[in-house]
Amino acid sequence: MLFLIELWESVRSFIATGGNVLYVVAFALLLMWVLMVERYWFLASVYPKMRDDIVNRWNAREDTTSWYAHRIRDTWISEATELLEQRLLTIKTLVAMCPLIGLLGTVTGMIGVFEVMAQQGTGNPRLMASGISMATIPTMAGMVAALSGVFFSSRLDAKVKLAKAKLVDSLPHH
């Protein structure tokens, strides 16, 4: 329990030195990971049942070569693809947004630095240092958040493509 309190305190001091933009980074990171975990869970447990169901239905069909059969096959593939690709765009957007949020932090931090300069002059570097830490920490946090998402989101992308290709392959024209 004490460990958790210490952890929370360190997070709080990190946010205090980094400024409020870190909350936005944290929100984007959380949203990104929630969506990604949901996708992995979907691929691992929901999708295989769905795929087996589609393959069984296709194999049960008598006619698999006519125009109608092709259209129906396309529809099933499309429906499966839609479910597979759901939210992937949002995840990618969030990954791309993280460095931008970091940049926003840089700019707001620099505004702070120049505000201190406008009020107190350049005489006291300590006063400016707080603005500089507010400029650099969100940038770093945004980079880290984006990097943490880049690998897993591209893995997810590849997995979805593979799953789609496999589905198409497993629906042969008899």
Binding site: V24, I72, T75, E79, L104, M110, M117, A118
Partner: protein, 449 residues
Amino acid sequence: MKKVINFVLLAASMSAGISATASANSLDDLLKQVKNDRISEAKLDKKREAEFLSARADKQALLAKAKKELANQNARNARLTKEYAANEITLAQKEVELDNATGTLGEMFGVSRAAAANAYGTISTSIVSAEYPGRGEALNRIANSKKIPSLPDLEELWFALQTEMTQSGKISQFTTDITNLDGSKSTETVTRIGTFNLISKDGFLNFNDELGQVQPLAKQPAGYISGTASDFFSTTSGYAPLYVDPSRGAILALETRKKTLSEFYHEGKEVGYAITVLLILGCLIALERMIVLGAMGAKIRSQEKNLEQPNENNPLGRLLKVYHDNKAVDAETLELKLDEAILRETPKVDRGINLIKMFAAIAPLMGLLGTVIGMIMTFQTITLFGTGDPKIMAGNISLALVTTALGLICALPLILIHSIVAGRSKSLLQKLDEQSAGLIAAIAEKESK
């Protein structure tokens, strides 16, 4: 000429005759006169001599008197000199006695003066003086007086220090005159937190020790800080959290010089307003798309459950209608007709979505424009005033950065909204493009059996 010479000779002979007769009588007279004169002169001399002699005696007496006086004065001088010397010794003795007598007390008075001077600095600037005014004057008097302070003065010092000490630990509420920013005065109830802060229902107050006035701050600090002050003021029981300024006003004074968010926003000027317009437009378009696509999706889902009766109010229904109208034609023609219908439906679904994307791309560019404008202004300032004053330069640089920040703040939500709206429209288009033919094929198959 002969006549003149005759006259002169005559005159000369006449005058010689007269003088010869006179001189015969006067010699005796002269003798007699001399004799008489000699007697009278001797008398006169004698008289004068007597006079001189008597005067000499007088002067002698005067001299004797003056000499006596001198002797008297000399004697007095000697006596007084002796007396003076004796007095000097006595004085020195008495001074030593006085020093001995005051001894430690003198030190105490020095300490009390120093204490009064110290306390004057603290007490006159303390906000407790807003509640108990006039304590500084007595302290000032003690600190600056050349005389030994009197007992009432010492008591005053003690009382002032004790009041400050006691009141610094208290939270008290009192009524006082507040000098508002426009100069008008009003009587209000204020709460004093120890020696740290004065608060009223409107937030933090400031105690101006030079004028002895309670004034509202020129600008309250950020809402979450000043909010606790007014909350605390209105709390009647229990505990309430409150931001306290431990520097006794210095931090609050700095806070008043900090810019608020809205002031920062207005620093962006025209570029900033343009970016805001972009954000609002983007959000409105996105909202319209969400509503339209949401309604369209709901209608398509209800149509999917009822494929037999095409409803013209949704794209899928219109596609089904194409099939129902062309049941007789062969598959190839039907596909062509369906493609045609889908092409007609597509723009209705993805209309405006690229606009949001474009806005999201334009916003940071406009921020960049603001940055460049700000930098141009900065360099203009440098041209005019030189680089001597960082404060002048920093003002414009902060303007440049504000527009960049605004551009990013505008772009971030637009990008997110675009991804959500684009995802929704993509799924609808997929439904129309790839799945409608399958649905129609399924109906056709069912009907042909």
